[in-house]
C-alpha cells in the first residue's frame, strides 16, 4: 500500500511536469475506474490550475474532428498547452473509441504541448459524468491551458458535455437540415458559441440566418446575459479558426467578469459529486446481504404481487440498515 501510495505520488508529479506517459497512465486509471482513483484524485486536488474547458458538440458530419484539430493548431500558435478528450458515449458495449476518427489529429502527434485522448464511456452514460471530469482534472493538473472535449455522440451526450464545459461550442454545417436538428436536440439552449463549419458550401448564409432567428439574436437581452456568437469556419483550411479562439477567449473573460465561471465550475463539481454518491449507493445495493434481494423483489413485481414503489421502499430500508453504523 505504501508502495502504491508512492507510485501514485510519483505519477502525479510526473504528470504535473507534463510527461505524456504519466498523463496517459492516470487517464487509463480513470477510464478503468481503478480502485486507486480515490488516491489519484486526492493527489490531484490541490493542483488544478483552471484550464479553460471547451466542449464541442454537433451532429455527425459537421466536421467536429477537423475543427478540433484546427483549434489545437490555433491554440498552439498562441503558445497554449492543449489537451483533447474525444468522448464516444454512443458505444456502450464495445468499450473501444473510434480511433479512425482520430486520424485527423495525427498532425499533432509528437508535439509535447498537445495531449490527445479518446475515451469510450463504457456501460451507461453515467460513465461520462464520472470519467470525463476526472480526466479533465488530470489534464488540468498536467498544465493544459485549454481542454477541448469533443463528443462523437448526439442527443443527451451533448447536454452532458455542456454541463462539463466552461464554454460550449455547437457545430453545424450547411444543408443538413440543421435547423430542425438543432431544435430537436435542444442544442439551441446549450451553446455559448455557434459555428457554421464548411461555410464555403451552398446554404451557409441560410443556416446562419436560421440560427440567428432561432436564437432570437435580434431580440433585446438582459444586460447581464451572454449573447451567443455565430461564427463561420472552413476548418479543413483553418479559415475562421483563429477568430473562434478569440471568441472563446472573450467568452472566458466575460464569464470571469460576471462571476459565471465560478458558478459553472461549482455546478460541475456538484454534479460530479452527486454521481459519485449515487455510484457508491448503487454499489451498496449490489452488495446487499442475501445477494439476490434486488432480484427476488423484481420477481415479486413481475408476478404482480408487489408494485415497484413498495418494492423500492423495502430495498431502501435494507440499504439504510446496511449503511447505518452498528449499535
Amino acid at each position: 500500500m505504501v508502495a502504491q501510495h508512492t507510485e501514485i505520488a510519483r505519477l502525479v508529479e510526473q504528470a504535473r511536469a507534463g510527461r505524456p506517459r504519466a498523463v496517459a497512465r492516470l487517464i487509463t486509471l480513470v477510464e478503468n475506474a481503478s480502485p486507486l482513483l480515490r488516491e489519484v484524485m486526492a493527489a490531484l486536488a490541490p493542483h488544478g490550475a483552471g484550464a479553460h474547458v471547451v466542449g464541442l458538440t454537433g451532429a455527425p458530419g459537421v466536421g467536429k474532428s477537423t475543427t478540433t484539430s484546427a483549434l489545437v493548431s490555433a491554440y498552439r500558435a498562441t503558445g497554449a498547452r492543449v489537451g483533447v478528450l474525444a468522448v464516444d458515449p454512443s458505444s456502450p458495449f464495445s468499450g473501444g473509441a473510434l480511433l479512425g476518427d482520430r486520424i485527423r489529429m495525427s498532425e499533432h502527434v509528437g508535439d509535447p504541448g498537445v495531449y490527445i485522448r479518446s475515451m469510450a464511456t463504457r456501460g451507461h452514460l453515467g460513465g461520462l459524468s464520472r470519467a470525463a471530469p476526472q480526466a479533465i482534472r488530470v489534464l488540468d493538473a498536467a498544465g493544459c491551458d485549454v481542454v477541448l472535449v469533443e463528443t462523437v455522440g448526439v442527443g443527451q451526450s451533448e447536454v452532458d458535455i455542456a454541463g462539463l464545459a466552461d464554454s460550449s461550442v455547437v457545430l453545424l454545417a450547411p444543408g443538413m437540415g440543421d435547423g430542425v436538428q438543432a431544435a430537436k436536440a435542444g442544442i439551441l439552449e446549450i451553446g455559448d458559441l455557434y459555428v457554421v463549419n464548411k461555410a464555403d458550401r451552398q446554404g451557409a448564409d441560410a443556416t446562419v440566418r436560421e440560427l440567428n432567428h432561432m436564437l432570437g439574436l435580434g431580440e433585446a437581452r438582459e444586460p447581464g446575459d451572454w449573447r451567443p456568437s455565430i461564427l463561420r469556419t472552413v476548418a479543413s483550411r483553418a479559415e475562421g479558426v483563429p477568430e473562434l479562439v478569440a471568441a472563446l477567449d472573450r467568452h472566458r473573460e466575460w464569464m470571469a467578469e460576471h462571476g459565471v465561471l465560478a458558478g459553472r465550475r461549482r455546478r460541475r463539481a456538484a454534479r460530479e459529486l452527486e454521481s459519485l454518491v449515487v455510484a457508491a449507493l448503487r454499489q451498496r445495493l449490489a452488495e446487499l446481504p442475501s445477494g439476490g434481494r434486488l432480484e427476488s423483489l423484481a420477481e415479486e413485481i413481475t408476478a404482480g404481487r408487489l408494485d415497484p414503489y413498495t418494492a423500492a421502499d423495502r430495498l431502501l430500508d435494507c440499504l439504510t440498515a446496511a449503511a447505518a453504523p452498528p449499535h
Copy 2:
C-alpha cells in the same frame, strides 16, 4: 385523500375497460411524475396481462414511424389490441414530443383498438428508465396485446429501449452507411430482429449482406441461442410487414419456450426498481439538512481544498444519518 384514492381506483377500472381517456390520464400522471404514481402503480400491479413489448430503434431516416404505423395495421388485422409509445429522449429541454413525426399515425386515430402516445423524457435520460416501464404497465393493464415502443433518439437510448423490450427490432435502410453506424451504436448486440426497410432501394442487398456478415449469422451458434432474423420491408407500402409480425410472434414463442421471457421481464423490473431507489436517494440528497450541503462541498472541491471522493464520503455520512431511524 379518500377522494383521491377512489379517483385512482376508478381511473384504473376505466383504463382496464379500455377507455382511452382514462389511459391518457394515467400516462399523463406517469409523464408528470405525479405524487399519485405510487398509488397508481399499486392499483395496476395485479392487472398485468403480459403484453408483448416490442422496441423499435434505428437512426433518423430509416422509416421508424412509417414502420411502426404499418406494424399497427398488421397487428390490428390479426385482431390484437395495440399500444404505441413514441419516446423522444433527445429533447431534454423542451419537454415536448415531436408531434410532427406522429402524423403518419393519423390513420389509426379513431380505432378503439389502438392507443398512441408520444412521450418526451424530460430532464435526464434516467426519466426514460422510470416513465417508460410505468407507461407500459398502464397499456398492459389496459388490455393491449402488443406495446410498440419507438424511440426517436440514437445511441444510448437504443440500449435503454432494448432493456425495456421483450423483442428489440433494429431498423436500417440501404445506403446510409449503416454498417459503420450499426457498429458504432452497438446495435448489433441488442437486436433480436433486424429490418432493412426501404428494401426497394438500391443497396438493399448489400446492406443485408453486410448485416449477415457483421452478425456472424454464417457461424455456428449454441443450440439455445436465438438466431437474429433479418427481414426486408417497404413499410410505406406495407410490404414485408405481416412477415415482421410473424417473426415477432416466433421470437416471443421462442423466448417463452426457452425461459428467456421471464428472465428479461425480471431484469426489466430490477432495473426499474433500481432507478426508483436511486431517484429516492437523489431526493434525499436534495433534501439534506442545511440545504446547501452539496453546494458547499462543491465549493470546497472547486477551490482545491477537497477531493471529490472525500466529499462524497461526507455526503454519504450525512445521507445515512438522515435516513437512519431515530434512536
